[in-house]
Symmetry: C2
Subunit: 360 residues, 2 copies
């Protein structure tokens, strides 16, 4: 087991990474305010891992209530969130009860938002079970649900007390989901960790083969990057925005194609190629660097072209993004492999041409 720390002062928390951490109630117990938890999971992850987590906690004298949500991004909405509130109220969970998310990013984001808002805030723990949620969504305290007019539009910043990333749970993860998670790993390399990018170029096939050591390294390194950024900028005023490389384009893809058709990581991969393309047109990346980035995505089995939506649709959807300030689109772009910048000066024409070149 490897342990990292997210340094957020009095809200600092540890991330435990390793096979089997799910069964170790000793990693959770110290963070409970009372001997009571409510677990939020879904109908795919629940049958696989709920019994183990529940058994470990109950053996430790903890009362466990459970709500099982329908699986999928299309359920990341208020109606599904209300199922969590219904359970919390029906079982009379208190403000001191701890909410545990067991599942991928969808479960984590919804459970986190429920924890942030149930009685104005109850303690929260993340047990992420997808690569994406282990390297990204479970760390950093962003929680949200979708609105028909925009993804993650309603949410809160709310930090967990501890994160347990059980790498062995990834054994059951569909290949396509594993690959989607890799998009975020590649992202850390691109925005701030050139050594990670190099390592991925050398070892990405080992990660795809789910070699435990390779997985653990990729996850730990990703969490370390995310933890550093979040500690420096919890509420996304500055550096944290760099984590959104590819995401403004990506969100347009996700919304434009209907939630759930493109996976988040797939959309981010295509979006990252658009950002790389725009960076090249601004004279910041060389064609060779763009080719390296593309090659790594291809080896990871990720899309390097966005869907063939009209460029106007892309721009329209991007204008709705949270990264808009006074109508100007702030995009994360690359100065080199390993160095990202936030840029609000790109001409709409140039943005459109970069999208055009990278969709179809």
């Amino acid at each position: 087991m490897r342990t990292l720390n997210v340094a957020l002062g009095d809200r600092a928390y540890p991330i435990h990474i390793g096979p089997g951490v799910l069964d170790d109630a000793g990693l959770i117990r110290p963070f409970l305010r009372t001997a009571r938890v409510a677990i939020v999971t879904n109908d795919v992850v629940g049958p696989l891992y709920l019994a183990r987590l529940q058994r470990a906690l109950e053996a430790d004298g903890v009362r466990v209530d459970v709500v099982t949500l329908p699986d999928g991004e299309s359920h990341k909405n208020w109606q599904t969130l209300n199922l969590v509130f219904d359970m919390l109220l029906a079982t009379r969970c208190e403000r001191s009860t701890t909410l545990i998310a067991l599942g991928g990013g969808v479960v984590g984001d919804m459970a986190g938002f429920a924890a942030a808002t149930y009685q104005r805030g109850m303690p929260f723990i993340q047990v992420p079970t997808t690569l994406l949620s282990q390297v990204d969504s479970s760390v950093g305290g962003k929680t949200a649900i979708n609105h028909p007019l925009g993804k993650n539009m309603i949410g809160a910043f709310y930090q967990p007390r501890v994160v347990l990333a059980d790498t062995a749970t990834l054994d059951t993860l569909p290949d396509r989901e594993l690959k989607a998670g890799l998009a975020e790993v590649i992202k850390y390399g691109l925005i701030r960790d050139p050594a990670l990018f190099d390592w991925l170029e050398a070892h990405i096939e080992r990660v795809l083969a789910r070699e435990p050591e390779a997985l653990a390294f990729a996850i730990e390194r990703s969490c370390a990057n995310k933890a550093e950024v979040v500690a420096a900028d919890e509420t996304e005023q500055g550096e944290r925005a760099l984590l959104n490389l590819g995401h403004t384009f990506g969100h347009a893809i996700e919304t434009g194609m209907g939630y759930g058709n493109w996976l988040h990581g797939e959309a981010v991969a295509a979006g990252t190629m658009m950002a790389a393309e725009l960076s090249r047109r601004l004279g910041w990346l060389t064609a060779a660097e763009v080719a390296r980035i593309e090659a790594l995505h291809v080896r990871a089995g990720l899309p390097v072209l966005g869907p063939p939506l009209p460029v106007a649709t892309y721009l329209e959807l991007m204008a709705n993004d949270k990264k808009v300030e006074e109508g100007r689109l702030r995009l994360v772009l690359l100065r080199s492999i390993g160095k990202a910048v936030l840029h609000a000066g790109a001409a709409p024409d140039l943005i459109g041409a970069s999208i055009e070149a990278r969709c179809g």
Copy 2:
């Protein structure tokens, strides 16, 4: 105009109290991040005061979008909240747009929760137009919506940038609402301000007659009390809980009778009498003190008995309250007029008997 300050460090904010502050965009403009606001109001307050606020802001070059909610506590739910998100997204409000609540506590609580969660937080301003919201709900950052199984069960702590309490708007407030607001003013006297209680005993008829000077005094004094408590304890770990005098009983009344049938302040008044009764039975208040408290409530036109629900129903509903920790009911009780304590040791029988004595 009187101005108070809520001392919350880098989230400190002023409260401006006086007739006509609504028309003074100069009090709002310095707090806007961009020249754009969204106003949330309802179909009772909007027709009365929206045009004035909107005109003042637009004359100052601010773009104003508006959503008008249906009036009433029964609409303080997710469906209505979604109307705010629909408007914010349809008009493409940004994270930097400021949300302004124009109305009573229902509008304030819902708009505040919307502001806390839209894109994980946008700036927020309160323009309260009921006595209750001017002396209580607009100050302190509690926001919430109701759930069918409990009042204010879903919410956030989220502070406004500035509060404008226009005392002249109270001229159109129905008598019953004015009286309900007075319950909270009396509460401040009871929990921590014996001089305010004495002043109310001397002048309550002047407040009921809406004499501007008497109203302004009662509001300023109430806000000062609330601001002090909130500054000392923003998220209700300690002293802030004392503001809930009468509220655990009161919430049971509100829920038990169906939202909106008993006004919040009416329920708090009856609940305060139950708390006073229990305090007497514990030997803390004298019968004479209870009689003084009752007399003031009667002069304010407030109920001093709860509705005739079975005691078991009261206790059941109270057990659902947020003030429960490990199954024990923590109640705010009175040591004397002007001094409240939080007490978790009262026997259920004694609580039941106090309810019994004060309902019917």
